[in-house]
Structure formats: structure tokens, C-alpha cells
Amino acid sequence: MRTPLLLDIAADACGDRPAVGGRSGGLDFAAYRARASRVAVWLAGKGKANTAFLGMNGDALPVLLFASGMAGTPFVPLNYRLADADLNKLVARTAPAVLVADDDMLARIAPVDGVELVARSAFEAEFLQGAVPEPVLLDEAENDIAVLLFTSGTTGEPKAAVLRHGNLTSYVMSTVEFLGADEEEAALVSVPSYHIAGISAILTAAYGGRRIVYLPAFTAEEWVATAAREGITHAMVVPTMLDRILDVIAATVETLPALRALSYGGGKMPEPVIARALAMLPHVAFVNAYGLTETSSTIALLGAEDHRAAFASDDPVVRRRIASVGQPLPSLELEIRREDGTCCDVGEHGEIHVRGEQVSGEYLHKKAIADDGWFATNDAGWLDAGGYLFVEGRLDDVIVRGGENISPGEIEDVLRSFDDIADCAVLGIPCEKWGEKVVAVIVSRSGAPDTGAMAATIKAKLRSTKTPEIWFLRDELPYNETGKLLRRILKAELAEEVCAG
């Protein structure tokens, strides 16, 4: 099954329903498909293998994504935050390609054989403005690769994750009800196009019949203003965004009455932030989603009921679930495995493995999926007795101290229970005696943290080997723009500081 089908059936069933853009001047589903089909004809005429995109969020993006699927050219969104040298390496890897780029980014791109550069303003003038054209009926394309997403490449060269039409449509159709949204619903998308959630948001909204509205780039003020103006009912945010959004709401009289559901993911949400969100937005259903690029987005989620149950419960097992990512989707299988490949017991930490039609587990020229379909996520985690999944972070981030494997996540959770901790990270840095030693980097609200009390609590709740040996105080921790803590950067800085000091 191919992604354009999702738009096709929505356009046939409710062509006059608003699909993309603001309340005025946006596209309805019929216009969305018609414009995408014209772009597809243009792309097919170019005869390039790939369709690349470098730019801020906007209505051109979903049109180009569906057009790529219709034309059978994989869609390759590029990260505009990369340094020019790194960006140009990726541009070269998309060749032969048509590259639609924001006008103010054109100068960043060095000419490369096989890459035809198209200014976004010219693209929009040709395909998004003027009277809506008649749709063109295209023959179904052959290429079953829908999207290539470059992974963030914190280790080595970025890998191009392959998402096939079958992976994406399977994800959409198993998680969303066709036209399940009512006509008033609108989703605000602020994650960038080169993030898997930016892609899946387009597909799930089209199939669900929900209008999508874009923020070109995230600021909390713009987010709140757009949500109010557009009557936004649904949105996905990363943890750092939510905290700033709450600050803006607190500083204004805006209550976002239309907002129904906020999902969050892409990093660990500090419990105080979600507690604050629940208190400030009592009418909103919160959903925590966990997924990877290689799994076509969400594979587990913690729903609104789970949030309420966890916060209301005196049972520590249930209470703790607020820090979980909920239960795996019913449409896939999930296991926690030991290093030897056997399954972990309840509560035992291991590597998260997943299998299902939405799981691609594939990079260009390299399959990372086992012959039996299981994909090793490289994430550490565990399941509780109720089947709730706790994600501890990347397996590579596990600290090995004197032969003992220590997950930073559980130590960070204890630290976050202190009101004085605004943010924290626990890391292992090289140490002659133990191989690695546990250190904590904390952002203190008071500026004078009681690390002695924190150490004592960790020792009592966990064990002495998990107690940080060195404490670093910072004003803030480094994150990428999608809310992922840049552990490796932090680790390198600390190792240097310790050596120097």
C-alpha cells in the first residue's frame, strides 16, 4: 500500500473539508490532492531519483511529500541546522535529485552534479498559488521507498533510514481511524520535517481527516498565539517546548479552550513539567509517545487515562508509570532482551526489541533487521508487571562501572524528584579505577543544591555504586532542537574538565 492512497481516499470522501493551513486561505482535501498531483507530474518529468527538501515548515511540505509518493521518488528532508559542510555532504548523497530549498538557504548549497536546485518561492508560485487545478490521474509508481531520513549521526556519518510506503501506511492505518477526526479538529505541527514525527504527522492527519497547521519554526509565543487563533485541538511537542509553552500560558490569560490533546515525545519529560501541564490545562488529554525513526514513529504510548491513574494512585507501582512510555501498540510485538538474546523477566533491564509491519529497521544499503523481523532498537528499557514500558535511553549511554551496568535514567528520575532540580543528566566518564565513574550534571533552581541530601537519597533508593561521585552545576544542559539531550557532547566536555582539573 502506498502513502498517496491515504490522501486519495480522504479527498474522495470529504474533498471540501479543510486539510492544510489556516482557517482562511488553506487547502481543502480536494485541492490538496489536486495540487500534489500537479507537483508529481512535474517531478516525474524531471526524471530524478529523489525529491529533497531543505526548509522551514509550511504548506509546501505536505504537498511535496504526497507528490513524491505519487511520482515514486523517495522524499528526503534535510536538516537546515547542520553546518554548511555537513549539509552539503548530505545534499551530495541525495543526487540525482530535485531539491526544493527555502530562498534564504539557497546560498548555503554548493553546486553538485545531479542535484537540481529549485527556490521555494518559485515552487510555491507555480504549484500553491492561483486557481486550484484539476487533479491529474497518475499511474501507480513502482519505487516502494517513501522517505529517506538522515539520522542525527551522533556517532559517525549520518545514516539514511529507509521508510517504505508499506511501513508508513501500516503505521497510519493501525493507529488512526479513517476520517476519525471531526471537521473542527486541527493539529499544530512544530516538529521539523526531517524528524520522523514531522513526516508521520502529515500522514496521520490526512488519513484521520484532521487539518494541519504549521509553525514555520518553534517559539513558545508563536505556538500559543497560533493555537488560540486557529482553534488548535491537537499538537505534538517535545519536552523543552512544553515547559516554555506553559511559561507563556502562565504569563498571559490564554487558556486554549479548544485544545483537546497534547502528545509529547522525543526525549524524557521531567515529571514536574507534566504535573504542571496537567494542573494548568485540566481540559487537555496528555499522551506520551515513544518511537524511533526506524519504526515509522510511535511504538508505545501512555494515554490520558494512564496519566490520570498514575497521578491519582497511592500504589508506587502505578504512580511510577507516569515516567513510563505506556504500553506497546497492539499492532506490534515488543520484547526486552538480555545480551545473550533471551527474554528479560518483568522488571529486568535489557535492550528493547520490536517487530511489526511499521518497523523498517533498514538503512540505505544496509538492513538492520533480523531475518525473523525483529529490530534491536539500541534503547535500554524494562517492562513492569502491567506491561508498561520504561525507556532508559540509548544502550550506549549505559554506564559500566566496575563491571556493573548502570542506567542513567533511574538515577535521573530520583534526582528529578527534588524540587531544586530543574534539569539533570547522569553520565559515566572514564576513570582508571572503575573503568567509568558516575557523575551528575544538575541545573539547580536555588543555585545552591544540597548534593549531600541528593546523594543520600540515591544511595537509599538505589544503591551506593549508583551514587554520583562528582557533581557539576550548570545553567542549562545542551539539547538538540527536537529535545534530545546531547549526552556525548556533555560527556566530552566533562571528561575534559575532569582531566584539566
Partner: protein
């Protein structure tokens, strides 16, 4: 008829439109309102009567399955006829919708 995943069909006797989500394990006939379905691009308008035995209707957005063959079909447009595979009525798949997560 080749009931490939993603293939689109329409009822011969009502307004229902369908998408095959999962193919059947063996070849067979997809029927709506008691009559074989037609390819979506078939030019003919619905004609004839919906069979009284297959008149429970197709609902938009619902999924219908036949346990024996494994075929699964999405209602892409509603209609008066109901679905059958080789004459056996298909049943509605009672999946609880998940909350939006992206």
C-alpha cells in the same frame, strides 16, 4: 478479482467504496450488497437492488474482516449494502482507536 492491499473497489449496487487492507489467503470474491464489487475506476453507476441478506450497510472508517480467509477491508465511503467474501458475511473489526500521538 485481484484483491491486493491498497486496491480500491466500489459496490455495484450502492454508494459504498472500499480499500483492501489485507489480502485473502486464497482467491475469492469480495461482495457488497450481495453483488461482486467493481474496480474503483469502473464507469458504471450503482444499479440493481441491495440483497436483503446483505443490507446491514458499510460504514466509513470501519474495518471489515473475514476470519477464514484473513481478508480485511476498509470502508472508504458508506453504502447500504454490507460486505461478504465468497458469500460469507464479513464482520466489523472492533478496534479501539488510539489517541493521536504525532
Amino acid at each position: 478479482m485481484e484483491l491486493k492491499p491498497g486496491s480500491r473497489w466500489k459496490s455495484a449496487v450502492c454508494d459504498a467504496q472500499l480499500v483492501v487492507v489485507r489480502p485473502p489467503s486464497a482467491a475469492g470474491e469480495l461482495q457488497c450488497g450481495g453483488a461482486p464489487v467493481l474496480p474503483i475506476d469502473d464507469a458504471s453507476a450503482p444499479s440493481g437492488d441491495v440483497s436483503a441478506d446483505f443490507a446491514a450497510g458499510v460504514m466509513i472508517g470501519k474495518r471489515y474482516t473475514d476470519a477464514a480467509s484473513g481478508i480485511e477491508v476498509l470502508g472508504a465511503k458508506a453504502g447500504k449494502g454490507s460486505l461478504a467474501f465468497n458469500g460469507v458475511a464479513m464482520t466489523i473489526k472492533g478496534a479501539k482507536p488510539l489517541p493521536a500521538s504525532d
